[in-house]
Assembly symmetry: C2
DNA sequence: AACAGCTATATGCATAAAACATATAAAGGA
DNA sequence: TCCTTTATATGTTTTATGCATATAGCTGTT
């Protein structure tokens, strides 16, 4: 489902309907998942569903952001081969990465307050139990 | 203050430190302010402070987004001259614009849930009263 | 009159991010 | 062999953002 502001119902990532962009949000999410336990990109892609990345994960975004975060020293990786399936690049969090999570948490709380300020004002203007569908 | 994930303390919009980008969020915010009452860009720029746009509002973003929303039929404008000061372009919300607000509200609630999912997981891992500064 | 400062709108440009498509390749099963 | 799944990676195009700058009328001051 597309949760954009236009009230569409088609699958996300089709027909170009971005709300405000939060895809960089994938970074703190992956860091948190890596804090939980080391993983490779493909696995993260699946576990991101826990954090609301449902139905529209771009592998490009996952892998590119992992490489970017490795460049920034937030994660490090090594090839893991020999088992079943193709070789995987196993990522682990660095101490810098763990620090970054705390920084992101502050940032995320701040942004949440902004969203809340919007919704508070919205509900003040359109109060009908907080759901516009009462009529 | 910069609320980015890197823990900086300098003034925002300096040294390039974006968290995830939410500047398009200015659109629903301006629509809501215009629902409250018609206004021109400069006034909106000031009233945006109510919604957490503090200290770092780019006039370019304001005017560009207003024109964009007019293109999209969400607002309409007319020149208002004759009073004191230079001519102003007075924006009013259209019915489509009001509809868009409701769409945005749904979208914003959804994004808030995503942020909350992140923070819940974060606090589950780093529980110390919700504040990392207890040590 | 000259000038600075404020109000007000607008545009240009360089870079960053996002959307989307596609390439590569190993392994497993039919 | 061929298709599917797992797994990683890159390229291209469009859109968004950050930042600087242009324009212009009005106000108050000297």
């Amino acid at each position: 489902m597309c949760y954009c502001h236009k009230g569409h119902h088609f699958h996300h990532s089709k027909e170009g309907c971005p709300g405000f962009r939060m895809e960089k949000f994938i970074q703190p999410c992956m860091l948190l998942l890596l804090y939980e336990r080391p993983a490779h990109g493909y696995e993260l892609m699946e576990r991101l569903a826990q954090l609301g990345f449902v139905g529209h994960i771009d592998p490009g975004a996952v892998y590119r952001n992992l490489r970017k975060m490795e460049e920034d020293g937030l994660v490090k990786s090594e090839w893991e081969s020999g088992e079943s399936g193709p070789a995987k690049r196993r990522y682990v969090l660095t101490p810098e990465g763990e620090e970054a999570i705390h920084g992101w948490a502050v940032h995320v709380r701040y942004q949440m307050e902004r969203l809340k300020a919007f919704l508070d004002k919205y509900e003040e203007f359109f109060k009908d139990g907080g759901n516009k569908k009462t009529d």
